[in-house]
């Protein structure tokens, strides 16, 4: 992202505006942070004085801490685990599309997502009891928020799975919807369990009939029958008949003819109404009420509805007793009728986000649903994963086409945003990168921007980031991280470390600069820095010619120290001839030759001596001349000269010494060489 594409916008702050300032801001790329800047026209003649409002009105700055649900450590496992599932789904999606076996695979994925949420909810519930959380109000609140949000997500995902994930012929959804409400309203079931445990005493319990009513409305007939059979008067006709009615209710089974089922059910229904009309249950008013509910009597349902928690709680139950063969597309009408009825009963009712989203799902308003799901405060976790799943299953493709929604690009942008979010917060970069990997070039570009922004705390972490960059072929990132570490080590005077990082970065300039520093340091002080590193450079020296020189010179230095003068002399001559000697190092190099030339038994042959002499005259003398010229020109900038060490003043003297030494060695060498020849 370049500087121009980041748009600036104005912030309407009253204080700033009154003083003639304009407060502008722009988004820092890759995060949810703003960069603020105040602007006020200042000209050359504007007096440099405190403004009239200075010190009078306090400037209030609120540093908003970024808070998300994921500050809660327990939720990290949710992110990490869904990341793995997400990757599985991507692999699955690469295969051929649209076969029936795959639909089953997709449902499995959807269930995995849900089980991850449920597992996480369980962990949260478990952790809630620990004293650590009970004592801290803020953490307690955070926990409650997390539970609320993810509970809603699970509820919605489950419903979505029932309504849109399966594509079976003759699909009947009522039983599944009953499962759904059963899971999300567990209170009644708990009460029912208590009643069952009480056995015969249950019928005396105050809540006995209320619980039964709720059970019927949730469509849990088997449990209802079990509890009814514990009633003391169960042997009486009314109870026996009721039990029979519940038992004989037709349930659709796979492979049944739909028509046949409908007529059977119709028959059962009419039979029940006839029984009610004949006052078969009149001796037991409570039981009669139950049967009224079973028959779907509007008047009784309305009365019972007053007790329900949310509009959709008893809808599946009602459908069971009125339209057991309801299909997903019929649900739409049933749901809107139901919601009208429910809100008619409670004029003051305000819809919560969850119940609104349930309604949108039931009314097949996916577009709005997706819109709302992005407001859940889970940093788009839900929307991203759900849309990705929708995209892969392909079931809703025609719907999105009709609505003119470009599903692939919607998925793309959701994944991109979510991935960038993870990359920038809570040390989740290792998870975020997987999402950005799905985003082709844009993803790669984002990775390239975001990877170097991860704060480097240790080298081990740096290696992990470098490995990530390497895997994706992001040479720039790799190099810039190495360079940063190299500079960090350099400013900390850890030159060996800096040199190695520089070599890893393969940046010629940086390597040259550090090698230069080491050479200069040597020529100034005679101390070789980090010899252990230079010894083991090996073939890596070819990054930069200066580094080649450094390691070769070091080799000479070592030979010299080990008093292996002959090999040393050879290496020195090679170095002199190599043309990679930096200017500032010429004097050092030639002075190194001095003792070898002056040695009693000659170490350097006549030919080599001539070569040295030639270098002396051809390289060093012009250098000194140039140097003199420069010093003459910029008398005040003598520090800029090539020789800044102590040898500068005596350079002429050194030159003479060198010439003399060469001459002496030449004569000695020639005598010995020629004698040897003669012999």
């Amino acid at each position: 992202m370049t500087e121009d594409t980041v748009s600036h916008f104005e912030i309407g702050d009253t204080l700033a505006m009154r003083c003639g300032n304009t407060l502008t801001a722009s988004f820092v790329p890759g995060g949810s942070k703003l960069a603020l800047s105040a602007y006020r026209p200042v000209k050359w003649n504007t007096p440099d004085a405190p403004s009239e409002s200075a010190g009078e009105e306090p400037v209030l700055i609120y540093m908003a801490q970024e808070t998300t649900l994921y500050t809660e450590p327990l939720l990290r496992s949710l992110l990490a685990e869904t990341n793995a599932t997400f990757a599985t789904l991507q692999v699955l999606g690469q295969g051929p599309k649209g076969d029936a076996k795959k639909t089953a695979e997709y449902i499995k994925i959807s269930r995995t997502y849900r089980s991850i949420i449920r597992c996480c909810l369980e962990k949260l519930e478990h952790a809630k009891q620990s004293p650590e959380i009970q004592e801290n109000e803020a953490i307690k609140q955070r926990h409650a928020d997390a539970i609320l949000t993810f509970y809603a997500i699970e509820c919605l995902w489950h419903l979505f799975e029932i309504l849109y994930m399966q594509q079976q012929h003759n699909q009947l959804i009522v039983t599944q919807l009953l499962e759904w409400t059963r899971f999300h309203y567990p209170n009644t079931e708990d009460a029912a369990t208590d009643l069952l445990l009480m056995a015969e005493e249950a019928s005396e319990c105050e809540s006995y009939w209320d619980t039964l009513k709720a059970l019927i409305m949730l469509g849990q007939l088997d449990v209802t029958r079990a509890i009814l059979s514990q009633h003391r008067k169960f042997n009486q006709t009314a109870f026996q008949t009721a039990d029979l009615v519940l038992k004989s209710m037709p349930v659709y089974q796979d492979g049944y003819a739909m028509q046949k089922f409908c007529s059977q059910w119709e028959y059962w229904h009419v039979d029940l109404e006839r029984k009610l009309a004949a006052h078969v249950f009149a001796t037991e008013p409570e039981l009669e009420l139950l049967m009224q509910l079973v028959s779907g009597s509007n008047e009784h349902w309305d009365a019972a509805l007053m007790k329900s928690h949310d509009w959709y709680e008893f809808l599946p139950g009602y459908l069971l007793f009125t339209r057991p063969a309801c299909k997903p597309f019929e649900l739409r009408i049933a749901a809107s009728n139901w919601i009208n009825r429910w809100s008619g009963l409670r004029p003051n009712w305000e819809m919560t986000q969850l119940s609104r989203m349930v309604m949108q799902l039931m009314e097949h308003d996916i577009k709005l649903f997706i819109y709302e799901s992005q407001k859940l405060g889970d940093s788009h976790w839900f929307a991203t994963h759900l849309i990705d799943l929708i995209y892969h299953t392909g079931h809703l493709k025609s719907y999105f086409d009709q609505q003119h929604i470009d599903l692939p690009s919607l998925r793309f942008s959701m994944i991109f945003d979510y991935g960038s979010y993870l990359m920038t917060s809570h040390n989740l970069w290792q998870l975020g990168i997987d999402y950005l990997d799905c985003c082709k070039q844009e993803g790669l570009a984002a990775i390239e921007l975001l990877l170097p922004r991860i704060p480097l705390k240790s080298e081990r972490q740096a290696f992990k980031i470098i490995a990530m960059a390497k895997e994706r072929g992001l040479v720039n990132v790799e190099q810039s991280i190495c360079k940063v570490l190299s500079k960090r080590a350099y400013s900390d005077q850890r030159y060996g470390n800096a040199l190695e990082w520089a070599m890893r970065s393969k940046d010629v300039l940086l390597v040259t600069a550090i090698a230069d520093f080491i050479l200069k340091h040597y020529s100034n002080t005679g101390v070789m820095l980090c010899p252990d590193v230079i010894t083991s450079i090996g073939a890596r020296m070819f990054v930069s010619p200066r580094l080649v020189f450094l390691s070769k010179y070091f080799e000479f230095y070592e030979l010299y120290r080990q008093r292996d003068f002959l090999s040393g002399a050879e290496l020195l001559i090679n170095l002199l001839a190599s043309k990679i000697t930096p200017d500032y190092f010429w004097p050092s190099l030639l002075i190194d030759a001095l003792p070898l030339l002056e040695s009693e038994d000659p170490k350097i042959f006549s030919k080599e001596t001539i070569a040295i002499l030639q270098h002396l005259e051809m390289e060093l003398v012009p250098l000194i001349e140039r140097n003199k010229l420069n010093t003459a020109k910029f008398n005040n900038q003598s520090s800029k000269t090539v020789f800044s060490d102590y040898r500068v003043e005596n350079v002429e003297e050194i030159l003479d010494l060198m010439r003399l030494a060469c001459a002496r060695n030449l004569s000695r060498a020639m005598i010995i060489e020629n004698t040897a020849l003669a012999m």
Partner: protein
């Protein structure tokens, strides 16, 4: 014998994991250390039988935790209930585990002075690796320093050697007096850590590499538990180099193994015929001696690991974990159970290895 893997997400990036030593029984407890978290913890976990799930035998539950100053970079046990923890802030801690019937507890019993720091800026340098021999603990850090301490007195450092002018990444005791260190260039040095010695490396050698023009760090080292002259190193390029410490002129064997850098390497604690390697790319391999191929009549020098080119045919490689996608940072084997800690914020418990 079928291997089963259980993955348990624990909401933390795990840098180190170790089983608690048990002499006669299968260990049921382990400790973990984290890295790159807002607060890093050392935790002790215990396996509980899981009555619900079919495939997963055990579920770990955290018994106790202690916050620590930085990333945990090394955990090693000194005896049955004391372990040393190396930390990113350049200090070493000793922890004690109290095994209880209900909830195990850990507490910090000792905390060393700053062992690793940069000379110029005086800032803390991360400790990068620790190794334990008896009660001696060796630590290395990014400042290139090698410290040897005694677990009996962390306050006093027995020996400090300026081992390298580059970051050291791994260390290992060869015997009581000798320690090897590995730096970022792949140079391995052998030091005599006795107080009388001069602190100069007695010997140094370089890990083999496919591409001699790029650096190849050694990230993990281990010596053979029975034949301590065998030193095995895992490197950046994913290869394994084996050295015979008696002949250091050239590596005894070289194996290209993983595609990504090796993060941890280690022998089975009770069965030295098995070697394990973990890699950055999320792989966990087991190398086992092919027993029938090794002639029993030969002497100890015939260890498969020193066989050079023939090594490939003498060991079997099994992928225990593959496709984790995130780095496996550490592992430990006890009895028939292997545990791995990973950047995917999960521990993997593998039964019947």
């Amino acid at each position: 014998m079928s291997t089963t893997v259980g993955a348990h997400y624990i909401s933390e990036k795990i840098s180190q994991v170790r089983w608690l030593p048990e002499k006669l029984t299968q260990s049921e407890r382990f400790v973990t250390g984290t890295w790159d978290m807002d607060t890093n913890f050392v935790r002790v976990w215990r396996l509980y039988a899981n009555p619900y799930a079919e495939n997963v035998e055990h579920t770990p539950r955290c018994n106790d935790k202690m916050a620590i100053e930085g990333d945990v970079t090394g955990i090693e046990f000194i005896n049955d209930d004391t372990f040393a923890v190396g930390c990113n802030d350049g200090r070493l801690s000793l922890f004690n585990v109290h095994r209880a019937v209900e909830e195990d507890q850990i507490r910090r019993t000792a905390h060393s002075e700053r062992l690793h720091y940069y000379k110029c800026s005086q800032a803390n340098a991360p400790c990068t690796g620790i190794s334990v021999y008896g009660t001696d603990i060796a630590t290395v850090g990014e400042d290139g320093r090698l410290n040897v301490l005694s677990a009996n007195n962390l306050r006093q450092v027995k020996r400090t050697i300026e081992a390298d002018s580059m970051s050291l990444l791994a260390t290992s005791f060869v015997n009581q007096n000798q320690v090897v260190t590995a730096n970022r260039m792949g140079v391995i040095r052998l030091f005599d850590v006795r107080t009388a010695s001069d602190g100069q490396p007695t010997i140094s050698f370089m890990a083999a590499s496919q591409d001699s023009k790029s650096s190849n760090f050694v990230s993990a080292m281990v010596t053979h538990p029975m034949q301590q002259h065998i030193l095995i190193c895992g490197s950046e390029e994913g290869s394994i180099t084996v050295w015979d410490m008696r002949h250091l002129n050239f590596p005894a064997s070289y194996l290209s193994a993983h595609k990504t850098s090796i993060t941890d390497i280690g022998f089975h604690r009770q069965d030295p015929s098995k070697l394990f390697t973990a890699a950055e790319g999320g792989e966990m391999w087991m190398w086992s001696d092919n027993k029938h191929l090794i002639d029993a009549s030969q002497t100890d020098s015939s260890s498969a690991w020193l066989a050079g080119d023939r090594l490939r045919s003498l060991v079997n490689v099994d992928g225990i974990l593959t496709n984790i996608r995130k780095a496996i940072n550490s592992f430990d084997v006890h009895g028939s159970r292997l545990i791995c800690g990973s950047d995917s914020e999960a521990v993997y418990i593998i039964n019947d290895v």
